[in-house]
């Protein structure tokens, strides 16, 4: 559906992205993960034809973006990081304008716009000026705009940024639903978001691809250690000593002391070992009750740092 080969973009001397290649299959939801300034938006801008690449090719549905831009643009709906809204227009006027811009057939226009407004739940605000809408609704209008013309491919640049938790969940569910019929590329810097909606993830760093895999594999492969947070009631120094003696423990760190002698510890151990039982028995024997024990998942930052440091070691 989307083929990207050796994509390179220079901003003068500065590298935007370098030698990026990946493909997206029809109906796939691909996550694009990376910190700010890593080249996510640059890549998306090139795929959608907003700016040309310095080198490399992008093909969408078999059409090259440089050779047949109109054919590609017809097939892509793009929601940039800042939704491209005209603040002085009403929602209906704006969506009508976009529909005309995208050359949607007049006969189907009205029903299509009604369907889209229903889908993203903006029907009740359709007569209001976009200027007066909340951030969440503006985002939805932006999404509605991308859906007009029923494009096969959707490119969404940080679609949930700046929304409240309830809105984030709604937008995610919406994207999941859209993923059944559309091919979607979605960028984000939040791992949970990507693992919630994406089937495959591309991690990008300093304009280069650091890893491509499913979210599950990524967290699995990059988790050499398993990490736990344990809250124990007992004197700090002796607890630390006891934990350190247990086989397989690599690292212990005491965090804040909540009450007197109630401390939360971060414990890391080899990923194949289960140290929960040994810790329990050791603490029970010493008479220090465990108040809480939970495993700490790897955040994108952790995985990301690992990806980057591993690369350095290889080099």
């Amino acid at each position: 559906m989307i083929e990207i080969q050796n994509l390179t973009k220079f901003y003068g001397q500065i590298v935007g992205v370098k030698n990026i290649s990946f493909t997206v299959e029809k109906g796939e939801v691909l996550g694009f993960l990376g910190p700010n300034g890593s080249g996510k938006t640059t890549t998306m801008n090139i795929i959608t034809g907003y700016m040309p690449s310095t080198e490399g090719t992008v093909k969408v549905c078999g059409y090259d973006i440089m050779e047949e831009p109109a054919e590609v643009k017809k097939r892509i709906g793009y929601l940039p990081e800042q939704p491209p809204l005209y603040m002085d227009m009403t929602v209906t006027d704006y969506l009508n304008f976009v529909a005309e811009l995208k050359k949607v057939n007049k006969k189907v226009k009205k029903s299509q716009l009604d369907d889209i407004m229903e889908l993203v739940k903006i029907t009740h605000v359709r007569k209001r000026l976009i200027r007066n809408l909340s951030k969440g609704y503006k985002q939805r209008v932006g999404l509605a705009q991308a859906l007009i013309g029923n494009p096969e491919v959707l490119v969404l640049d940080e679609p949930t940024v700046g929304l409240d938790p309830k809105q984030i969940i709604e937008i995610r569910n919406l994207i999941k639903a859209l993923g059944k019929e559309h091919t979607i590329i979605l960028s984000s810097h939040i791992l949970t978001e990507v693992s919630a909606v994406c089937e495959r993830v591309v991690i990008i760093h300093k304009g280069e691809i650091a890893a491509i895999d499913t979210p599950e594999n990524l967290s699995k492969n990059f988790r050499n250690m398993s990490k736990m947070s344990i809250t124990i009631s007992g004197p700090k120094s002796s607890v630390i000593n006891l934990i350190k003696q247990i086989y397989g423990i690599k690292y212990v760190e005491a965090q804040t002391e909540k009450e007197k002698d109630v401390v939360t510890y971060i414990v890391e151990c080899d990923k194949d070992l289960d140290v929960r039982k040994p810790i329990f028995f050791a603490m029970a024997k010493a008479g220090y009750p465990i108040l809480e024990l939970k495993s700490v998942g790897m955040s994108l930052e952790d995985i990301f740092l690992q990806v980057v440091t591993e690369e350095k070691e290889v080099n």
Partner: protein, 234 residues
């Protein structure tokens, strides 16, 4: 292109800009028309020349937001990633500004109509003067659209447009001061010398073609400016 044209026309008339500018134009041109009434002076071509001068101030304000605003608000992405050609975007926007200008022209017909009612004749000078006035305005708008494409700041776009138009306005004067070959070149390029011909009732095809190519060249440069920025966007 139609979508962009109508969207721009609507946004002119939904906001106060169109009304304020049209109002300003009517106010100043009416003040200029006052002497015609009190001294029962039936000739209108002098007024047309002065109205051309009003355009130097009004057109930059009319066109300042036309491309700069899209760039600033990020709506440029929407336009450039839609299946509409860049040339269609620029021409659509140009025509929208031209539309507002034509509304001004239409309203200004009131003055000659008043004169005709009081017994003045419709002369070739009058018709020629109007044709020239419209072509001059259309050329000015092309310069304004160009100014709006080089910056994302509307104020700078307006000032830039004003400076360009002022240079065009005084180019003839500078030419006659300097004299020699410079004067000839300036005179050849001059929009105003041709306008004066129209005002005398001389309708020359090559002058019309000159204005139209002037517009085409400025719109073409505008497209090039946007295209170039896409390639070097940083």
């Amino acid at each position: 292109m139609r979508a962009i044209f109508w969207k721009e026309v609507k946004s002119y008339f939904y906001s106060p800009i169109a009304y304020v500018l049209i109002g300003m134009f009517i106010l100043i041109s009416s003040i200029m028309f006052w002497p015609n009434l009190i001294s029962a002076y039936g000739e209108f071509n002098g007024n047309l020349s002065s109205m051309g001068y009003i355009l130097v101030f009004i057109v930059p304000i009319l066109t300042m937001r036309i491309l700069a605003e899209d760039r600033k608000n990020g709506t440029e992405v929407l336009l450039l990633t839609s299946p509409v050609k860049l040339s269609e975007i620029v021409i659509g926007k140009y025509l929208a500004a031209l539309f507002v200008f034509m509304v001004m022209v239409l309203i200004s017909f009131v003055y000659p109509i008043i004169l005709v009612i009081f017994g003045a004749a419709i002369t070739p000078q009058l018709v020629g003067g109007y044709v020239g006035f419209i072509l001059l305005g259309a050329s000015f708008i092309a310069v304004g659209v160009f100014s709006s494409s080089v910056t994302e700041n509307q104020i700078i776009a307006a000032i830039l447009g004003f400076v360009f138009l002022l240079i065009i306005w005084i180019a003839d004067g500078i030419g006659s001061m300097v004299g020699g070959i410079t004067a000839k070149i300036l005179y050849w390029f001059s929009l105003l010398s041709r306008y004066e011909d129209f005002n005398k009732g001389i309708l020359r095809l090559n002058a019309v073609i000159y204005y139209l190519s002037f517009i085409a060249v400025f719109l073409f440069i505008t497209i090039m400016v946007i295209e170039r920025r896409r390639w070097s966007k940083g």
